[in-house]
Every structure is written in structure tokens, then in C-alpha cells.
Symmetry: C2
Subunit: 320 residues, 2 copies
């Protein structure tokens, strides 16, 4: 007889309104609400099986993450009184630890998979909370489309609007495939402790969040662009004023930002956002994607482009 | 008989602790204290003569500045009850309106020149105040070496330490010779009105100023580097979080910042600062200048380098 197993596919997401800063590190309690879109084709595929030996882990994750993932597995099992040993096989179809939210899709896959495989019977809200304990942004990857995440105690994410209500494309411009030197978690903590702008970041966040949220519900592209870019620049400004300064951007990151401003002047609907890394995501109307990709051909330093769309609903692919 | 005339040479300066934000636009009252070094070889040369016609202006300044300079001249004459007509000829030996402080050296030349030519009998403090009315940072170009400028009502600059007490070199890396789109004065006002980080910028400034000031007096290169870079990044973070966002950096600006961090890891004494433009100034020990210039040869996008040193004492070159 085949061993029981489950195979889950979850998508990375990109925050249009950023999660940056925690009120509790241990619990991954976000200091600010956030708002993201699932990236349909940037996916983690995770297979969970029972195992005869201690919990084992295979896959394409960053080796430094091994203890973090196994620790999470251990804690989750303990919390739900699971005594059986597990084997986890997890793979990303995009570069890990480069600021493309591989931990978001990774921990969402684990939370969804463990709930289903072990019949934990959790609500969506509780699955999102469970994912959050692995990585704050993974609370959002439990859902597809437009997703919002609340701040504060034991926070969780919830769907705001479906992907098909407002189809937009995402052009992921990878400017550096190397692993970033400072992880998001470390950088958040350094910012919180040392940036003189951190309080102003937190205090001025609600306006961006509310503005972007309304813009999504109204499908107002330029309003969303305005709040999203502003929030992105505020996050990076907070990061670069930390002590020591952390600079996630490289020269291609900046060349892309400047080029977005330039082609926008000629009337193309496009805006940028950048998570904690040097990669830039462009958001645009699907009808303009091809034209925009062409317009970026002369820009140096773009190692790779991934073209995808808002989506990313998790899938339980096989269960036996 | 020759017409009486005076020829003044003044140097641009670069702020290590930035002046950004005004409490009064009309009077150029700085919201924060600043600290600068004179750049010995980036100079404005200005000749003042009496004239038979209305005040006239020749030179290499940016044409948009003409009204500003003539307005300044008119106000100064009115304030000191000067009725004779003047001819002003002013030339910079470096690119104007690109973030290299041409208005600093320009208005300092006018203030020093007018005081001397018209026998106004002003103290150094009052000459500095007079220069400030033309451009805030020009209050500092009235002196050479290490100069500090106080904040607040009717503020002025004063020498902190002579250039020869601590000889340092300045490598000016020009990454864009085009005139900047948003002037410093406009950008300051936009920041003050709209950046959610502006208050934190002002509130956290004294620590940088005091730290850099002490570092200069102790000739502690790394302390000065730390406070100076932090303050520079804070200023640009405030600028880029304005609404609309203002981005003075280009991709070469960022490539230079990253390269400074890289070569510093191998032990070279060098730090960067960037005024309101895309140009980067590197500060280093004179013994390392040649080596550093070589290390930057592979970096793309540096249109021109000017190598100079801390100095910039104004000179009255001829008077007849």
C-alpha cells in the first residue's frame, strides 16, 4: 500500500503595502497592517509524508533555513500533539532568499499541508496564523488574489478581493540572484532598534494601507500606484537609515525605478514595488505587459524577468 | 583711469551634516545646523564693477538663476542704501545646478564682494548672514576649511577648524552633468510639507551634528564617516519619501555607494556624501586618493572626476 502523502502548491506574494517591523519577534506579530498580491507562477511545492525516522527535510530551500523549518515543524507538532514522524520535501521554482518571498510561500505550504495532512481542522484564519509563526508574510500566502493582513496581537491575513475581479500582471525583474546578505527578519529588527525614522514609518502607515485598500476595491490603478510606491520608498528609506545602514538596492534596482518614472510619463500604466532585496516587481495592465517588457530591454543589470499575474490560490495537488 | 573693480574667488562646499529644511523660506532660515568642508578647486570667480546702466549680470550661471541673482543684488543694495548701478560678472569652473553647490559659492562671492567693494563694513558673521539670504549653504562658503552653521533665527556660519589642521582629499564623482529637475530649494519645501519622515529628520539631526563635530575636532575619520554617511542617507530618505517622491540618485550614484562599502571592507579610509543631486563626493586621506580613484575605474556611469582637497578660503584676487 502507498504511504499516505499530500502535495501542496502555494505562491509567493508581493506586498504593495509592506509588512516591516514586529511588536514581538518570537511570535512574528506585525507592527503594521499589510496588503499583498499573490504571484501566480512563483510557487513552492511541498510534499508531506509520514516517516519512520525523526522529522526529515529535503528540498531546494536555503541550507541556513533548515533549522528554522525543522524548528517550526517541531513546534507545530507539539502544539497540536502530533507524535508521528514526518518527512517534508519542499521546492521553489524561483530563487530563494533573494527578496522574492520564498519563506512566505514555504511556510504557507507547511501550514496548509500540515492542517490537511494531520486533520487539524483549523479555520482559514487559524491556518493563516499558523503560517505567520513561520514567517510573517506567509500568513498572506494562505490565500490568493488581493490579500490584507491586520496588525497587532495574533494577527492573520484574509482575502480582500479575488484575482479575477481585477486582473493585473506582475513583471518580476531579478537584478541579483545571489542570496541577500541581511535577511528580512534581521533587517526588520535592526530598523526597529536603530532607524530614527522607524516610529514615523509605523505612525504614517495607516494612511497608505487605507488608501491602497480603497484603491483596490475601486480598481483605481493610479491611486494604488501612488500609495504602493510611496509605502515601498518609505520602507526602504527606513531600512537605509538603520545603523548600520542596510542597502538592498543595487544600481539596476535604481535604473528600473527611474525607467518606470520615464515610461509612465508617456502614459503607460505601470508602477514598481521592491521587497527586502534588490529585485523589482512591476505591476501593470495585462494588455501593456509585452510593451513594457520591451521598453526595459535597454536597461542594464536585469539578470532575468519572470512574467506572471495576480493569483496564487494555494492548491492541494494530490492527496492519497 | 581704470574703473574701480573687485575680483573675488570663493569655493563651493559639501555638507557632511546636511542643511535640509527651512523654518522660513523667505529668509532662508535653516531648520537644522550643518557642517561642511570647502572644496578648494571648485570655485566661482566674480567681478564687481560700477556700471552706467541698470545692474547687469554676465556669466556662466544657469539662466533660470538670473532673476534670483539680480533680485538678491537689488535687495542687498536697498538694505545698505546703495544707489550706484553695478555690473556683475560671475563664472563657475564646475557644472552649475547639478548638485555641486554652485549657488553656495556664487552667493558667497557676491556677499564678500559687495561688502568689500561697497565698503559696507560688515563683520564675518554678518557677511555669512548676508550670503545666507541668497542661498542657505552659501553662508558656509564665506569661510574655508571645516565650517559649521547654526540653525534658527538669523543664523550664520563660522569656522570650526582650519583645512590644514586635518588635510583630507575630496573626489567629486560627477554622474550626470545635466541640470537637476527639482532645485534644492523646491525639494526642501516639498520634503518639509509632505515627507512623513521630515519631523524625525529634524528631531534626530542634533545627534549627527554633535557627533560629526566632535569627530572633526578629534580628527577621528571613522566617527566622521559614520555620522556623515548616516546623515546623508537620512536626508535622501527624507527626499525620496516626499509626495511626489523626488529621487536625486541615479544608478551610478548607487553603484558608487556600494563600491565605497566594498573597498572599505578591505581597510581603505573612505566615505561618501551626496548633496541634493546625483553626484557623489568621496572623502579620504590624501595618501589614498590615487589608489581609490583607480579602484573606481571599473564603475560605470562616472562622467567625470574632480580631485580636490578640503580648503576653499575665499580670496579677493584683485582690487583696484
Amino acid at each position: 500500500m502507498d504511504q499516505p502523502q499530500i502535495k501542496i502548491s502555494t505562491a509567493a506574494n508581493v506586498a504593495l503595502i509592506k509588512y516591516w517591523g514586529k511588536t514581538s519577534s518570537e511570535m512574528n506579530m506585525p507592527a503594521v497592517p499589510s496588503l499583498s498580491i499573490g504571484m501566480e507562477d512563483l510557487r513552492t511545492e511541498t510534499i508531506i509524508r509520514f516517516s519512520n525516522t525523526d522529522d526529515i527535510l529535503h528540498g531546494s530551500f536555503n541550507p541556513k533555513q533548515k533549522d528554522r523549518i525543522l524548528g517550526y515543524l517541531g513546534e507545530t507538532k507539539k502544539r497540536y500533539h502530533v507524535t508521528r514522524k514526518l518527512s517534508i520535501d519542499t521546492r521553489n521554482n524561483f530563487p530563494s532568499s533573494t527578496g522574492l518571498a520564498s519563506s512566505a510561500s514555504g511556510f504557507a505550504a507547511l501550514a496548509i499541508g500540515l492542517n490537511s495532512f494531520l486533520d487539524l481542522g483549523l479555520s482559514d484564519e487559524d491556518i493563516s496564523r499558523l503560517a505567520r509563526r513561520g514567517s510573517g508574510s506567509s500568513a498572506r500566502s494562505v490565500f490568493g488574489g488581493y490579500v490584507e493582513m491586520l496588525a497587532g496581537k495574533d494577527s492573520f491575513a484574509r482575502p480582500l478581493m479575488s484575482a479575477k475581479s481585477w486582473p493585473l500582471d506582475i513583471i518580476v525583474m531579478i537584478t541579483d540572484e545571489k542570496e541577500k546578505k541581511v535577511s528580512s527578519s534581521e533587517a526588520m529588527e535592526i530598523s526597529r532598534r536603530s532607524s530614527p525614522f522607524y516610529s514615523a514609518w509605523v505612525d504614517s502607515h495607516a494612511e497608505d494601507f487605507d488608501g491602497a485598500r480603497q484603491a483596490i476595491l475601486k480598481k483605481d490603478f493610479w491611486e494604488l500606484a501612488k500609495f504602493s510606491e510611496r509605502n515601498c520608498l518609505k520602507m526602504h528609506a527606513t531600512i537605509m537609515t538603520s545603523g548600520p545602514a542596510i542597502m538592498y538596492w543595487n544600481s539596476a534596482t535604481l535604473a528600473i525605478i527611474r525607467h518606470v518614472n520615464k515610461i509612465r510619463e508617456s502614459g503607460t500604466n505601470v508602477f514598481f514595488t521592491i521587497d527586502a532585496g534588490p529585485q523589482v516587481k512591476l505591476i501593470c495592465d495585462p494588455g501593456d505587459t509585452e510593451k513594457i517588457v520591451k521598453e526595459f530591454e535597454p536597461i542594464n543589470g536585469i539578470a532575468r524577468k519572470i512574467i506572471t499575474r495576480v493569483g496564487g490560490t494555494p492548491k492541494i495537488e494530490t492527496r492519497k
